[in-house]
Symmetry: C2
Subunit: 176 residues, 2 copies
């Protein structure tokens, strides 16, 4: 039931956006009894917050090429794909509107960074990065221009840009 | 009249947000005839778009300390202040909602980057950066983590963080 409701909510959020999202429509799309939905998620804020938390459970496979640059380029291409989706844009809007509880937002990013940090840990074990390299700092350094362009300035992000973002983040970490 | 309406719109946008912003309220706050407002800005989308374009006309004084790092730190402290304001957050939301015309958003960022690039040009003249240093790339490199944290993840940005963002952006540009 939960999976069907999440899927329906993701689809509707993508199609109509947060403002127009209605729990009864989610129930219909999910083919679940409306009262069942309301019992678990009293408001759409609860459902969208839950959805944001689940977002970190998928969408980001982590390549293991044996090379830190190749792994990060693969990760950031996935990130750019995800950030371009109306779903992720609706999520960011919801965060800015205070629709999503700050704790949920914090948990989402902590989880997302934690999952991706495996790429950095493997690079440290291979000796590509210093022992004390900070995974979150490196991931943020490489990824933040992607979010900045796609969500803030509306500029495009090419694969060449991604390789450049990765290169300077890795070089900075190696020099530290 | 225009300045009074812009000021009123900025105040209301900050107080009630975009969704609740109403042109008649703006007219009252600005002490301007409602029809005068509607004649110049038929919709609130027009007014907010206009407002975004004017945002790039102020708010960012550019320090001239004779040192690229000090100039960028001063700039980014101003940026962090601005990004924390409900006005800027409302603006970003409006962009994500497609409320602000893409051309206006593009023009805003082009203007903003252009104005700040004086800091980079002065550093090139002083020999602190290579002749071919790309101003926009350096400014984006240093500033994007600030937008990422304050608008996307909701994390804080300290003065120490800002000095670190500036240091790695300048080092990367000097190595290029």
């Amino acid at each position: 039931m939960v999976a069907r409701v999440h899927q329906a909510a993701r689809e509707l959020l993508t199609e109509v956006g947060y403002e127009a999202l209605q729990l009864p429509d989610v129930a219909v799309r999910a083919e679940v009894n409306k009262t069942t939905v309301y019992r678990r998620w009293p408001t759409k804020r609860d459902l969208v917050t839950d959805l944001l938390l689940r977002l970190s459970d998928h969408d980001l496979p982590h390549a293991d090429t044996g090379d830190i640059r190749a792994d990060l380029v693969a990760l950031l291409k996935d990130v750019a794909e995800l950030v371009r989706t109306p779903l992720m844009q609706a999520m960011v809007r919801a965060s800015l509107e205070g629709t999503i509880a700050p704790e949920a937002r914090h948990a989402f990013w902590a989880e997302r960074m934690h999952r991706s940090s495996v790429i950095i840990e493997r690079a440290i074990h291979r000796g590509e990065l210093p022992e004390d390299a900070d995974a979150r700092s490196i991931l943020e350094h490489a990824a933040s221009p992607i979010y900045f362009r796609l969500l803030i300035t509306g500029e495009p992000v090419t694969d060449h840009d991604i390789r450049q973002f990765v290169e300077r983040a890795v070089e900075t970490a190696q020099r530290a």
